[in-house]
Amino acid sequence: MQGVGMRPFVYRLARELDLAGRVSNGPEGVIIEAEGDAQALAAFEIRLKRDCPPPADIVDCIVQPIPAIGDQGFRVEASRADGTIAPFALPDLAPCPTCLRELFDPGNRRFRYPFISCTHCGPRYSILDALPFDRERTAMAGFPLCAECLEEYSDPSDRRFHAQTTCCSSCGPTLALWDAAGRTLAHGDEALLQAVERLRRGQVLALQGLGGFQLLVDAADEEAVQRLRERKHRPHKPLALLVPDLAAACELCDVTEAETQLLTSSAAPIVLLGRRAEAGSIASGIAPGQNRLGLMLPASPLHHLLARDFGAPLVCTSGNRSDEPICIAPDEALGRLAGIADAFLVHDRPIRQPLDDSVIRIADGKPLMLRRARGYVPRPVALDTDMPPILAAGGHLKNTVAYADGRRVILSQHLGDLDTAESLDRHRTTAELLPRLFGRPPRSVVCDRHPDYASTRWAESTGLPLRRVPHHLAHALACMAEHGLKSPVLAVTWDGLGLGEDGTLWGGEFLHIAPDGHRRIASLMPLRLPGGERAIKDPRRSALSVLHALYGEETPERLPTTLKSRLEPGTLSVLLRLLQTGTQSPECSSAGRLFDAAASLLGLCRDISFEGQAAMALEAAAERGGEGDGTIYPMPLIDGEPKRLDWCPLFHALLDDRAAGVPTSVLAFRFHSSLAAAVAAIAVAESIPTVVLAGGCFQNRLLLELCAEQLRHAGLRVYWPQQIPPNDGGLALGQIAAATFSEEFLTCV
């Protein structure tokens, strides 16, 4: 690991134990040569592993005896950039407690300096140009150390000894506040104070954060929040909040021990937390209809200052226009966020790697990654097979790319949806960057089987040997790679949809993954999507399709009022006609669409403006239902190749009970538990001891926990992606894992 203060730590330890020798960073990792008394050397080895600095992670420690040369003293040597295998790089690290104390200590020379850092904390991947991680290969290269900082940097007893990112107000980056026209209003601390003042007046502030711009607004100011939503064209999607500290988080939400750990970790992600009933000091427009809030603690000294000066929750959302990637350069932000932000708090330390805020939640007591970027990237995932250098193109939405060389996979940060010119460019530059940073040029590429994903088009354009990986197999293999699982495995891959191996659309699959191949043993009964892709953005269409499957020609008379009042008669008759004829209504075995249908039939969503909105509303409603009442609706398994899980009886029961007046929250809970029971029943019948749950549907905590509980109860081992998103953000890892198998394995049998 680099950038964690490993060399200074080794230096101090060696001096303490009276060892001679040297330490250097090489492309293969940290190299230590030490000589001295045998007991001291043994103690050195033990303490090296035990006492190493907190962000460090010793992946492997190889000890080799070498002849003593009668060395005197212990030296820290400059990094070497040669060699064949690239070193690791660290994700960005939130300020350590010591730096924080200094930040708020009026007697310290870095009092209120927003770029304070040390060997244990500070920006890492976001400012990285090349490895090894030394100042001259980062965005700090433009800030030569002043005499005072240089003295600390050179003093082995100082905690900033060899701190690559260290600086102070006389030699480091400076803040500036711009108005919407780009005119500078103030510099330094004055810029910060004025920015806070503008936030108090309800203005929208664009802040140059660690990995990109963020948009901030007073979370208690209903009008200001609405203004931000209107300007961003983001009517419903929940907004994350920045709070000054853990105590402030606990005022808004119930925070468990596991959640506290996530919140206060050096990654400082957005954590989805259960909202406290009495938490009233924030605007109702923050997370409409949700029982949860996304909260984050300050990830940088600048955020600490801002959050503490403001003293109350701030909305903190990514600084982009809808569908575009996050802005990273001040000038770029000024142009693209024009009309959204009223002022810009910027600085002159360039952002090299765009990184959105990561989003994570706790499910079944363990972390469940929803969006992986700042604070986690570029931590590697280990493979159990040696790979020649290879790139994976990922999916089309929530895209990430992945690169492997040897046994190590680097999964890129969340790059967003590949629909705009900007996101296509960012996809390409990231795919080009990873091999440059972490290894050798790729010799092949892997992508999804969907011919029209922009990522597939990119993979084709490289001219490298190309393999196409089935979407749901990639979901399963990503989870297996994360946990180092060996086949056989039963993979339950449930998502919105992906191109299946028979050319139809899949999304509710049970795949048996054996060492020599994989088989689709069961799947949800297909549902027609009237209007194709349009149906995905309009849950009413899935609902109508379910009703049509249930009632056929009688559908118009059976239409529940929740649906009837929301569909124009003209539209309704055309949609029914599409369902009857199959015109422009592809079949799709998607689990996600069943969630859409249920949410719509239960009157939980009208128009949706973001993917997963209906499913989130259904989950939220079910959570309000508490522990559920144990009722399971039937989902018979119909024989065939594959077997089909029939959802008609489930929906019949759901609609009958709704007509009988059973509360919506209870019905929503029953919907979840019935699906979980069906999953468990299939797993038990197949008697494969290891079950993997993957795909975007398992972002749903309730579904995940109910499935896990029932599977464990049946004596099965159950895994799901935790460090890697279960949604399409994890596909690239699965694509890399797939490349370790034969072509026969990749073809469904």
């Binding site: 089309h396 705009t420 969907h450 029209d452 998502d495 919105g496 191109l499």
Partner: protein, 329 residues
């Protein structure tokens, strides 16, 4: 069937199989018709096959479609159409009345353009083998100006104009075929553009390139020209005329109007300096009443086409490989 949707599979079929099989310099012009030097004259020559279900639809029928399609291909080279040919493949048992209707509308369309169908052929195939009626038409036109109208004429900074509202033909066909019963009946835009092109030339508009919109719609036409010319292009979503009826139908069907078929619309490329003149001519003609500047040609690049929406977000357009498959997960 993915090869028939006018998408990338179709293009690949052409590029990998058809073009190499006939390789010659005339084919490399990559335009709707071939321009041939014959005895000191420049002739445009084109041929097309027509397969449509249903054969009769609001706004036209297969006969009008076959004649207008060929006239349009000639017009896209700036040629004045002279003579047409037609070959009919008729399924045994096809009603004679229907055939008479089709022939009459072919003749009417040819006459309206000042041309005639001067030669032809008729074949009958077994019952069940011909979807009623197939028509193939060819045409010869004369180029009476010195312009080189075609993809090679496109220049950086050119304005991109569209002659009228889009999406009508595709919506009319699917509504009629599937009995969708939209509140407003949409009529196909099926029309002969050669007269309108003639007017533009007569007025002295220096046209750089013309392309009629057919399968794959506006998106396919512009993407093809961007690829062939190597220029990046940008379209303004707001400037592209779509009638409320077509927009509503597309919304219900989940179609993007940009990708829906047309049979009487074209895009025009020209220097910004002649746009006003061109718009005057277009607006004065019944087929160009709704003409508008919809975008511009950018720098030489990869041939990327962007669609800028009202919020300034630029979406990258792409040709689907065949039938459009949902990409959202």
């Amino acid at each position: 069937m993915g090869h028939g949707g006018g998408g990338r599979m179709m293009q690949q079929l052409l590029e990998r199989l058809v073009r190499p099989a006939f390789a010659n310099p005339h084919l490399d012009q990559r335009h709707d018709s071939a321009v041939l030097d014959v005895g000191g004259k420049r002739l445009a020559f084109t041929t097309d096959g027509y397969v449509v279900k249903p054969l009769f639809f609001p706004g036209g029928d297969i006969g009008k479609l076959a004649v207008c399609g060929t006239l349009n291909d000639l017009a896209m080279s700036g040629a004045k159409p002279l003579f047409l040919s037609a070959a009919l493949v008729i399924e045994e048992g096809f009603p004679v009345d229907d055939l008479a209707r089709v022939l009459a509308s072919m003749n009417a369309a040819a006459q309206a353009a000042g041309t005639a169908i001067v030669t032809g052929d008729t074949k009958v195939v077994e019952n069940g083998k011909g979807d009623g009626l197939y028509i193939a038409t060819s045409g010869i036109g004369l180029i009476e100006h010195d312009l080189q109208i075609g993809p090679a004429g496109i220049r950086e900074g050119d304005a991109i104009l569209l002659s009228g509202d889009i999406g009508r033909h595709g919506v009319a066909i699917i509504a009629e075929r599937e009995g969708l019963g939209f509140e407003t009946t949409v009529e196909s835009d099926c029309a002969d553009l050669s007269g309108l092109v003639g007017e533009l030339l007569k007025a002295g508009v220096e046209l750089h390139c013309l392309r009629d919109l057919t399968r794959g719609g506006l998106a396919a036409a512009v993407l093809e020209l961007a690829t062939d010319s190597g220029f990046d292009m940008e379209l303004n979503e707001d400037a592209i005329p779509v009638t409320p009826a077509v927009r509503g139908a597309c919304e219900i069907l989940g179609f993007d109007p940009l990708y829906v078929a047309n049979e009487g619309r074209m895009v025009l490329f020209m220097s910004a300096s002649v746009v006003d003149l061109a718009l005057d001519v277009l607006h004065a003609h019944p087929l160009g009443r709704d003409a508008a500047v919809i975008g511009q040609v950018g720098a030489a690049g990869e041939g990327r086409v962007g669609l800028r929406n009202a919020y300034g977000i630029v979406r990258v357009l792409d040709l689907p490989s065949g039938e459009q498959l949902p990409r959202i997960c």
